[in-house]
Amino acid sequence: MRIALFVTCLADTMFPAAAKATVRLLERLGHEVVFPAGQTCCGQMHINTGYSRDALPLVRRHVRTFAPYDVVVAPSGSCVGSVRHQHAALARSAGDGGLAARAEEVAARTYELSELLVDVLGVTDVGAYYPHRVTYHPTCHSLRMLRVGDRPLRLLRGVRGLELVELPAAEQCCGFGGTFALKNADTSAAMLADKMRHVLDTGAEVCAAGDSSCLMHIGGGLSRLGAEVRTVHLAEILAATEEP
């Protein structure tokens, strides 16, 4: 299958390992990955902070960039959530019905990584090997905007050598929330403190998630604590094999 990668601005800039792993994984499974030029950002940060007017050109750019592809994947529940639940609505409220219709078409073909693997490609055992004790944070937008359910856990259970440990209060927000972490830094830090305590309680070596943004937040907190736990994107675990 020919799959267009929507890398997301954060993964592109700060966490390319997650995006590279997505490419390696899909190619290993026998698919062709293309990287449409001209893509930058879905505009979620602008929309969620109230700058919908600034976001509109970004939505237009995103729709134009990805309209030619049958299947689009992003290693981010949050950005796919924005594409699926915000783009058409924003276009419609700006009075651009044509853009809204095209945005809906792109949204219907855009998948978060675990959705693509399980629902479209029909795999839960991707042939990965990752001999570590891992706990999984489901991330709010994957959980509630996309309803990915247990797809990531099914994928992780198919990984050889991986010991999956349950995260207490997994469904509680880590406190990132985009600009929420800046505008309400103290409340965000209090939410993060509880999330980190739960992660540490599991005794896991690795905290995994499907969103680089949440991992940046949790990882940034764990690093400040001097904790040994690493934060790793789901794609990196699924891309890992016995060959170095």
Binding site: R144, F180, A185
Partner: protein, 476 residues
């Protein structure tokens, strides 16, 4: 003939309890520093969440019930003027008197005059969000009328000279030791040997309240629902104090937000299932009181209904925001909100705290008066999932953020940064250049400068990678 009533106005300033004294982040900081408060809140919300989750799981048709509640509310809002007139007609026919109050000032004036006309100077109150919203107790006090709250938690808040911090459990931020202190200090005739056993505390409150019920002739209530078809008012409660207030006095005055309507008697069935399970985690609330006008020789012989707007018409005029009027005040959104759980209700500065408060308060007052509230959420979406009438709170929050940004006259550092980021992201070459610049930035991997230093106060930025994804891709 038509009468122009003017554009829908927001709730007036200087009266009522919809506006906080400081922005959310500042108020939240104080609450976050109070360990006792955070323990009380964490314990209470976790308990209610578990209880509610268990009784909701018993119903095979919970999702259908939610959809039915949502559809009934949407229909009611679409026909609100017509249904309100129908309610007025039926209440009047049953011997009640209907008053229309455009805002808090008018409602307070109407109630004060009604109490004065009875010749009494004390009222007993059924727990009511609407009267708290308009600051009725304060208005009555200024007129020399004593208002006694009879809901146990409201009484604790009133005696403690405190403010409620939860819609359903106003004293959620207090533990029993604190409550004992308040009773000893403030409750008339309390036994000085009072312990902090819940049963002992409840008995003390009961003794005090019984005496007050029996010697007070005027009651003020709110209403959970009003049935347009029959003119019936409905109050749901757990303690029986409401039942006492609604039956013993000679005069009953009900203050109700105009959105509390349901079209028909039959519609009530849906809400009587949704509300108790979502709010207190009960299969059915212990007391459901209904009254239609007056009944000679039985219960209050004089009944007044005050229909309160106080900004609601303005909310109704907003296509996205009007869903907030569907709220049945169950507080399920508070109990699942990770922000509320850590800051408590006072940080929201309004009688409506938590996620629903973050969308309702700024709409009732105008967003500029509560500008920090739409941002008091990480948009995690737990409130939307918990809401028994499916109010899409995250979408309204985002909508109100947009309203706030659009209403600002002058550019701010944030708006300039946002515009610059959007421009850069709309030009891929510029974006790539900005990525390289960010990587070389002296801030990379260290603490951020203002206004981003709040983030790096408790978190480390990761070191930037040696190359971006698009650079790596280009070299493949």
């Amino acid at each position: 003939m038509t009468t122009f009533l003017g554009m829908p106005a927001t709730a007036p300033r200087g009266v009522g309890n919809l506006r906080g004294e400081e922005p959310f982040p500042a108020a939240a900081r104080k609450a976050l520093g109070n360990e006792q408060l955070r323990r009380n809140l964490g314990h209470a919300t976790a308990t209610i969440r578990a209880k509610s989750g268990a009784v909701i799981a018993e119903l095979p048709d919970w999702q259908e019930l939610r959809s039915a509640g949502s559809a009934l509310k949407a229909d009611t809002m679409a026909r609100l003027p017509e249904l309100l007139l129908q309610l007025e007609e039926n209440v009047t026919r049953a011997g009640g008197v209907v008053h229309w109050a455009a805002d808090a000032n008018e409602a307070n004036r109407i109630v004060t005059e009604l109490v004065r006309a009875t010749g009494h100077d004390r009222v007993i109150k059924v727990k009511s969000m609407a009267t708290q919203e308009i600051g009725l107790n304060e208005a009555l006090e200024a007129a020399g009328i004593e208002a006694v709250e009879t809901d146990l938690a409201e009484l604790i808040v009133q005696l403690g000279h405190d403010r409620p911090s939860h819609i359903l459990v106003p004293a959620i931020h207090r533990n029993r030791a604190e409550i004992r202190e308040i009773f000893l200090r403030e409750m008339p005739g309390v036994d000085p040997a009072l312990t902090d056993e819940p049963a002992v505390l409840a008995a003390a409150a009961r003794r005090y309240l019984r005496e007050t019920f029996l010697r007070t002739r005027v009651a003020v209530s709110g209403a959970n629902f009003a049935i347009a078809e029959t003119g019936t008012l409905v109050v749901l409660e757990s303690e029986g104090n409401g039942r006492m207030c609604l039956t013993l006095p000679e005069t009953l005055i009900t203050v109700m937000g105009v959105e509390k309507l349901v079209p028909t008697w039959r519609d009530l069935e849906v809400f009587l299932q949704l509300l108790p399970r979502a709010s207190t985690g009960e299969r059915m609330n212990p007391y459901t009181s209904m009254w239609t006008g007056v009944t000679p020789g039985d219960g209050p012989q004089s009944f007044h209904l005050v229909l309160l707007d106080n900004g609601r018409s303005a909310v109704l005029a907003d296509e996205v925001g009007r869903q907030a009027l569907h709220c049945i005040r169950c507080s399920a959104c508070l109990n699942v909100c990770p922000v509320y759980e850590r800051t408590g209700g006072h940080a929201y500065g309004s009688v409506y705290p938590g996620p629903i408060g973050a969308v309702l308060s700024p709409q009732l007052t105008g967003v500029e008066d509560n500008a920090s509230l739409p941002y008091a959420s990480s948009l995690c979406g737990a409130c939307f999932d918990a809401c028994p009438v499916k109010i899409d709170i995250p979408s309204i929050l985002v909508h109100l953020r947009g309203e706030h940004v659009r209403a600002r006259r002058r550019p701010t550092p944030e708006s300039i940064a946002m515009a610059a980021a959007a421009y850069t992201m709309d030009h891929p070459r510029l974006f790539a250049a900005a990525q390289h610049a960010a990587r070389l930035s002296r801030f990379a991997g260290r603490r951020l400068p203002r206004p981003f230093n709040g983030w790096t106060a408790s978190r480390d930025l990761p070191p930037p990678p040696p190359e971006t994804f698009r650079d790596w891709w280009a070299k493949r």
